[in-house]
Symmetry: C2
Subunit: 504 residues, 2 copies
């Protein structure tokens, strides 16, 4: 009894987590009841006989949660049945020519070779990712048809019936999955990315308060809720396999909503990988927040202004991406926040150079510098993410924002006053200078070679390069170039100050 | 033609990566040829008729790469066929009682309810992990049997034949997968863990040379080979899903080699999670190594001795674990290396307190302190890993090492002189003090509450606690207690020095 209650509770939890699961269960029930009543229905049964069961089987095996997965499996199954059926008939014909004693031996050899080859092919990474199921069905159908032991005309009839029932089952699945409350893997991937941006943004925006404000031991429930909310980012850490599966399914899906057939799903994975990099840093930062309570607040406060701003500005830029992803518009004020966070980074470096921390104990220094270095990493990653999102936006042909809607302009308005409030004058000039760089610097390699030793960005950027090359080899070069083009590390902070003054 | 050559090249690569794949392909071919010759063999065919195809189907679908996966699927399929067959016959009987007009409607309702419920159950995480395939077959068989449209005695016959052919197919798979070059998932998991320890150990042991020795731009190929060898650790970063799948399969496997039926596979996952934590740190460290070339060598050299020792000693402890895992013996000199690395950590903290870095530029400080903090993290993680490995060793009943074999004693001998060579006198006393702590401290919570602010370990340990709670909730508490019990952070470094002097 206790056991039953537990199962019911578990069921409620699973259903609440994603109500579409309940709908999916009903859809499968519907499809199966439909197909088996075909089976039961006498005229159809007279026509297809036992072969009607292949329709039932197809529905059970092919019907998956998302449209993409269902379509992928259905197409795999239909094509594999067709090809293997043809080859199977051929093999059967060949064997039957050879006389009754050799025939079974020849058939066994055919089956053996076919099964061994196909099984081996299933280990190919590219086959495994998209055609694994098809190869499985290929092995199955080939073996069943070639060895069936029927006369040839019977076999042709068999293959024909089997193919038509498989197609019947497959089509029912696909139709029901597309037209009854469809679950699009592409849409899911898109939303997942947007919500990942959102949770990271939330953490970064709250970071300053969490790090610089003494925690009162007030309402424990409140504190716990706050922490749980902050630590939502942890789901991003392990999102890789989920994203990859969704992207694989999405490739099978037809045009739906605002997604074209050849939507750049691969670019979603690229952005997702960078975002995960960022989440690793945030995870480390989060553990530091707790332990850094040990550092006296007055020491932390010395770096409060730039650190707070680095967090909040990169958070804002991510929030902006999250919103514009949801609306599928190009992010507009996004770059401003990225540049703001970089200028905060420069303020920090000036501050550190001024020797403000000379009297800090070395052991406290370790912890404080870890936080600083993580935040620098995050700022630099934000910039890379910015570039990657721009690529995504243009590849996916996101609309330009014509008239900012309410919630959107809210975010810009919130950003703007902050900017003019937080930034001092030469930070504004940094903005100008850096944006200038983007347009004019053609000497990418050269500038990369001239990186000055004491730029605080450089260290972090190197870290990122390595990491992202590890995470996504293909785009490594591109990112590399980009990094040295846009970010501020190829001139040191004092140079920027100079140029700011000159423009004045 | 180019395409074909490419495919052949890919095939060669896939086969070379794990030659057992080729063997597996042959095994599948063998099983299928065997079962389909049953099918083709007239007396058997006369007995089972078309139902013989269920044997073929079972082989194709059930035969997996490892014994555990095959057994799991086979058992799932047999049990699900049996249960669903019984229920299906019951449903069919019930429906047939109700008269010809109601019968199809009732059957459709049965199928619908059954399919919807079972499909929903497949979303339960525990069901998904181990019984997903069984539920699928349950849905399938129930639908096929209940709707079959035959008379009842025919159905009983059908169910019986289907079950026996499924069992025939399943048993062939299981026998071939166990007796022809078996691939044990448990053995694979075990080896994977050992090799993960090995790659991390390699990195840590090489860390000192990599960080403190200026790279000559000599033989590029040599340098690249060295880097590739160092960066083997990257495979550990994404080992989670692989480990989990293997552990799931291993649970199905019978006693084999030195593994009992209820071998503590779960503990492998716990150790693996900690090891992955360590790999994340190493990844960050690796990126730092490259960027830290910017820090003048003379500054780095100031911290060389303790940093080098922290790396090499934790590397040695991991190497030791790797070796003893391979032999399935309890690691013996393992703890000594852990303690050595901790004492190096203390030397470092003393060094930092002495103000040796007071004249270092703040921006170089960031990078240097990041390296320091990562190494402290790694040392603390090594200690946790040590505890976790000890748990594994006793749960898995590893043998005590009676007579160290050659390669093993090599590792101990290498360790010992290092110890007496590197450690100064009061470090040796640290060892005594810390080991004493393990035995005597019952005041866990109290000591945890008293952590002093200036202990360098504390910060890092906090980080780990949080992370490991995130990675493995169940053991979180345990680790927490452990950490505050064994490690040296609940007394600060000067306390330890005092106690060392007292014992003198």
């Amino acid at each position: 009894m206790e056991k039953v209650r537990e199962i019911v509770r578990e069921g409620r939890r699973v259903g609440k987590e994603d109500p579409r699961r309940v709908v999916h269960a009903f859809k499968v029930g519907l499809a199966l009841a439909l197909v088996s009543s075909f089976y039961y229905y006498q005229p159809l049964y007279d026509n297809f006989g036992v072969n009607a069961m292949w329709a039932v089987m197809t529905v059970v095996v092919v019907f998956e949660f998302s449209v993409g997965a269902t379509l992928g499996k259905g197409i795999n199954r239909a094509v594999a049945t067709l090809v293997a059926g043809g080859l199977g008939i051929g093999a059967h014909h060949l064997a039957s020519l050879s006389g009754t004693t050799v025939e079974p031996i020849l058939l066994a050899i055919f089956v053996f070779v076919q099964a061994a080859l196909s099984t081996f092919v299933r280990f190919f990474p590219r086959v495994k990712a998209r055609y694994d199921y098809g190869v499985l069905i290929f092995i199955l159908t080939f073996a069943l048809i070639s060895v069936s032991g029927f006369r040839e005309d019977e076999i042709l009839d068999l293959a024909h019936k089997r193919l038509s029932t498989v197609i019947m089952g497959g089509v029912s699945c696909v139709l029901i999955s597309i037209f009854v409350c469809p679950v699009w893997a592409g849409q899911d991937l898109h939303s997942l990315l947007a919500s990942n941006f959102d949770t990271l943004a939330h953490f970064l925006q709250e970071f300053g308060d969490e790090y610089f404000e003494a925690t009162e031991d007030g309402d424990i429930k409140e504190v716990e809720k706050r922490r749980r909310n902050l630590e939502r980012y942890k789901s991003v850490l392990n999102s890789k396999s989920n994203e990859e599966a969704l992207a694989n399914f999405a490739k099978w899906e037809p045009r739906h909503g605002q997604f074209r057939f050849r939507h750049p799903w691969k670019q979603y994975l690229a952005v997702g990988a960078l975002l995960r990099q960022c989440a690793y840093r945030i995870d480390a930062l989060n553990s530091n927040i707790n332990s850094d309570m040990q550092i006296p607040m007055d020491i932390k406060k010395k770096l409060e202004e730039p650190l707070r701003r680095m967090g909040s500005e990169s958070g804002k830029s991510m929030k902006e991406v999250s919103i514009s992803l949801k609306k599928m518009t190009k992010p507009s004020s996004f770059d401003i926040h990225v540049v703001n966070s970089q200028s905060a980074c420069k303020t920090l470096s000036t501050l550190l150079k001024s020797g403000i921390l000379n009297d800090v104990e070395p052991l406290q220094m370790i912890s404080l510098m870890t936080t600083v270095s993580l935040l620098i990493d995050i700022v630099n990653l934000t910039e890379k993410i910015s570039e990657s999102v721009h690529e995504l936006a243009s590849a996916a042909k996101f609309k330009n924002k014509t008239k900012p809607s309410k919630s959107d302009s809210g975010s810009i308005v919130r950003a703007m006053p902050n900017k003019s409030h937080d930034d001092d004058d030469d930070d504004d000039h940094h903005v100008v200078t850096i944006l200038g760089d983007v347009d004019t610097s053609n000497n990418v390699d050269q500038s990369h070679g001239e990186i000055s030793v004491d730029s605080c960005h450089h260290v972090a950027i190197k870290i990122d390069d390595d990491d992202s090359i590890h995470e996504k080899h293909e785009d490594g070069d591109h990112i590399h170039v980009h990094t040295s083009r846009v970010s501020c590390e190829h001139t040191n902070a004092s140079d920027l100050l100079d140029s700011g003054v000159k423009k004045n």
